[in-house]
Every structure is written in structure tokens, then in C-alpha cells.
């Protein structure tokens, strides 16, 4: 059986943030910083609904400005 080949998708930090931002706004009416803050403090109502966005955030460095509280 011939398997479908799919190249690795390389995303920059800004591309990841843009995807999270778009998804969080469409589905939760939240900005990206608010979304990350709510997830990391355990108050996001239903994280599984946006598991794909949470997964993308896992690709950012721990020192990313999004993870630093203002």
C-alpha cells in the first residue's frame, strides 16, 4: 500500500500566534493572550473544545512573551 506523504509544516512563532488568535476569536471570542492565560490557570471552560489551539501553543518556547504575565 502506497502511503500518502505529507511534508512537515514548519511554522514561525508569528504564524502560530496568528492561528491561535484566529481560532480563539472565532470560537471563544477571546484574544490570544486571554486565551493562553485562561488555559494555563485552569479557568478555560472547556479546553477540549479547542484542543487543536492548545496543541499549537505547545510549540512555542516556554519563554515566549505570550506566557509572561503583563
Amino acid at each position: 500500500m502506497e502511503l500518502i506523504r505529507t511534508p512537515v509544516l514548519e511554522l514561525t512563532r508569528d504564524q502560530i500566534v496568528t492561528r491561535i488568535e484566529r481560532g480563539a476569536k472565532q470560537r471563544l471570542q477571546l484574544g490570544v493572550r486571554d486565551f493562553i492565560e485562561r488555559y494555563r490557570t485552569g479557568v478555560l471552560e472547556d479546553p477540549a473544545a479547542v484542543a487543536d489551539l492548545v496543541a499549537l501553543a505547545a510549540l512555542l518556547d516556554d519563554s515566549d512573551p505570550l506566557f509572561v504575565r503583563p
Binding site: M1, R40, P47, A49, D52, A58
Partner: protein
Amino acid sequence: MSVPDLPALLGHVRELTRQYKRGRPESFAAFRELVQLLLQVTVLGSGVGVRLTRGPRTDRMVMEGAVDDLGVIRMNDGRYLRVSIVLFREPHQGGYRLKVEQASYQYQLDDIGDHWVFRYDYRRDPADQHPATHLQVRGVLFENVPLYHGVLERVHFPAGRVSIEAVIRLLIEQFAMGANTPPEIWRAVLAESERPFEEIAHRPLSGPSA
């Protein structure tokens, strides 16, 4: 699709399993290829399967459905499965292991996911009170009980760790999804792949201990 050679398929599954269990940098690709094989043998309905996505962190990757940037695959019945798995390498007994930080599978009627049916979710270290492994079903609870009074989708049912093989079986056996190969092929392939997963899968408690 012609009927594939079962011994060759099972051999391919074993080899990919051996590769991802070694925890080397190339193990990410082996894991993706294994999942791609499982999907092609079973429910994949288009030429687009799963891909690896990488960002600034070099120690982890996301395996997700590759339809646009929606994280979904299109299945045989025209519906969708959202697949999202965060993989990372961790030192283990002098070597490395490929591990899963979080995994989510959502069966949905539309590509966006407004019309989802069920989803399984696993997170190794959740920050909230929901069970680390749980099942949600978007339906109606007929009896009027607290907390959500009929809105079933808000309930996070604790579940054991659920493999992608189990989700595929569920779609075929319980949701009448057509398969790309005969049952004697896809059942054997799923079993060959699921067995090692069950041996090494992390099984968290059903909630926080404090």
C-alpha cells in the same frame, strides 16, 4: 483500492512501531506514518491525511489532520475527524522515549467543528479540574439532573486512555463508517498497532489529587 497484502501490512506496522518506540528524532515521522497507514486502511476518504507541524521548540511536534489549517481529516462518509496529538521526546533509561503530552479526537459533521458528535481528550498535566482523560458527547440527557440540566456536552466523563485505533473502531463499528479494506484486514492492522500502545500508555488519575 486493491486488497493489500496482510502480512506485509502487519510487518510495516511492527517496523513503524519499533521506530517510534526508540524515541529518536526520526520517531516523530515514524509515528505519523503509522497513523497515516491506520487511516488509509480504514476511514480516510480523501488524499489528505495527517501531518507533523513544528514550531520554535525543537523537542516537540504536533501531529494533526492536514486539511487546510483546521486540524481535520475527511473520512469516507464525508464527515471529519479532528486529530491533534502533541508529541515530545523524553529521556528514559539512558535513551529516549517518544511521549504524548496531549491527544484529542473529535468526530464532527463539518470541517470547522460546530457540529461535533463526540470527542476524547487526554492531557498529561491538565491545569483544570476536568478528568485528564475524558469523553464528551454532544447530545441531550433526558433526565433533568444537575449540573447542566440536559446539556450532555458539558459533562466530562472520566475515561481510560483511548487510542486512535479505538476511535477508528468506534467509527466503523458504531457509526457505520465505511472502511477501505475488508474487516479481516483492518481489524488485524488495528490490533497489531494498538497492542504496544496499551503496553506503554500513560494512565493518569481521573482528576487532581489536591
